[in-house]
Symmetry: C2
Subunit: 197 residues, 2 copies
DNA sequence: CGCGACGTTGATTTGCCTCAACGATTGTGG
DNA sequence: CCACAATCGTTGAGGCAAATCAACGTCGCG
C-alpha cells in the first residue's frame, strides 16, 4: 500500500486512538483500496453492505428511495467513514443507496477483517467504540435539529457547519437531507440572499 | 448490592457481551443505585452529565427547552441506558434535562468508573462499542423517519414499535418527540380513531 | 447541436401551527 | 373531605410555511 496516497487515512485512524506503528500498519493492510467514478454506486438497496469505507478523496452520499422520492441521510468526504452500519452488522439487506458525488477513492474494511481487528487488541475495540460514540452524538444532534429548528434555520446551520458543502453537493440533495423539497430550499435561499442586501 | 433487585440490570448487561461472573460482578459493583420520585430531575440544563444510568424500574424523559418550548428527544425504560452522552464524554455543560416520568430506580455509572472499566479488559470496551453502535443505528432510524414520514405515519410507527408507550408517556411529550405540537397530535389521534370505525 | 438534468419561479393547495377556549382529571391547601 | 387551582387532552377558527403541480432558462454532456 502506498502510504503517501493514504495520508488522509492514517491521520483519520490515529485521530481517535494512539495506535503504535505495528497496529497502524496492521490496520492499513486490511484496508482494500477502491476507486469510484462520479455517480457510481457503492451500495444499492437490497444488497447487504459488506464493508465500511473511509474516504481518501472525493465524496459519497447515503440515501434512500421512499414514497417521497430520494431522501438523503448522510454525506461523507475525506477522512470520513461511511457504510450502512445496520446492514453491515446484521448482515441483512440494506434499504439504502451509497453513490459517489465525485470521482472518489475509498479504503474498504470488510466485515470479517473488522472482526479480526476487534480480536487483535483492545485498541481496535476502543477505536470502534469511539467512532460509534461520535457518530451517535452527531446523528442525535441532527435529529434534534429537525424537530427544533425551522427549515431556514437548519439550512443556515448546515452552511455554517460546512461552508463549502454547497459546492460539492447538489441543492436537491441538501434539500432532502434537510427534510424539505428542492423548490422550498430554492425559495429559502432566495429569501436569505434578499435579506443580505 | 442486591442481585435480586438488579436482575433487569444484569440481564441488560449480559445481553450485549457474554461477561464471565467476575466481570459481571465487577461491573455491578461500580453501579450506584439511586431512586427518583416522579418528576424529579436527574439532569438539568447547564449541568455536566456526570453519569450514564441504566433503569431497573420506571422511566425517564430526555428533553431540551428551546424556542418552541420543550422538545422531547428520547425516552428510556427498564433495562435502557440514558444520559447526555456528549456532555458526559466531553465533560461540558449539557443543554438537556432528564426527568423521571414515574417513580424510578436507576443504577449510575460515573465517568471515572466507566474509564476504569474500559481499562479493565477488552470485554468492557466491546460492551461500550456495541452499546454505542446500537444507539447510533436507533437514532439514525429516528432521524430518517422524521424526514421521510408524515406526522401520522411517525405516530403510527411509534405506536407499532412501542404499543404501551402511550400509557407511560404523556401525549404532549410524544408529540414533541414526533416533532409536532400536542394539538396536532390530538387531531391525528382523532383521525385514526375515526378511520378505525 | 440537441437532449436531459438542474435550479429556479409562479400559482395553488395542504398539513401543521397559532391562538383561544372547553371539559375532565389531578393535585393541593383550607 | 371538599373546594379550588393547575394540568391535561381536546376542539374550533384562522394563518402560515412548505408541498404540489407546472413551466422556464441554463448548463453540461453525448
Amino acid at each position: 500500500m502506498n502510504y503517501l496516497m493514504a495520508e488522509t487515512i492514517s491521520a483519520a485512524l490515529s485521530q481517535l486512538v494512539d495506535f503504535n506503528e505495528e497496529e497502524l500498519s496492521y490496520f492499513m493492510k486490511l484496508l482494500k483500496v477502491k476507486k469510484l467514478k462520479q455517480h457510481a454506486f457503492l451500495l444499492q438497496a437490497g444488497e447487504v453492505c459488506r464493508m465500511m469505507v473511509i474516504i481518501n478523496y472525493g465524496g459519497l452520499r447515503y440515501f434512500k428511495i421512499g414514497e417521497k422520492g430520494e431522501q438523503s441521510h448522510w454525506f461523507a468526504f475525506e477522512g470520513d467513514w461511511l457504510g450502512d452500519y445496520e446492514s453491515f452488522l446484521t448482515r441483512s439487506p440494506s434499504p439504502y443507496y451509497i453513490q459517489a458525488l465525485e470521482d472518489t477513492e475509498i479504503y474498504c474494511l470488510y466485515y470479517d477483517d473488522m472482526q479480526h481487528l476487534y480480536e487483535k487488541g483492545v485498541n481496535f475495540e476502543r477505536f470502534g467504540r469511539l467512532m460509534a460514540e461520535r457518530l451517535f452524538v452527531a446523528v442525535g444532534r441532527a435529529r434534534m435539529d429537525l424537530v427544533s429548528l425551522s427549515a431556514e434555520q437548519r439550512y443556515l446551520k448546515l452552511m455554517a457547519d460546512f461552508p463549502n458543502i454547497s459546492k460539492r453537493i447538489q441543492v436537491q440533495h441538501i434539500a432532502t437531507y434537510l427534510g424539505i423539497h428542492p423548490q422550498s430550499l430554492s425559495r429559502i435561499r432566495k429569501n436569505i440572499a434578499r435579506a443580505k442586501e
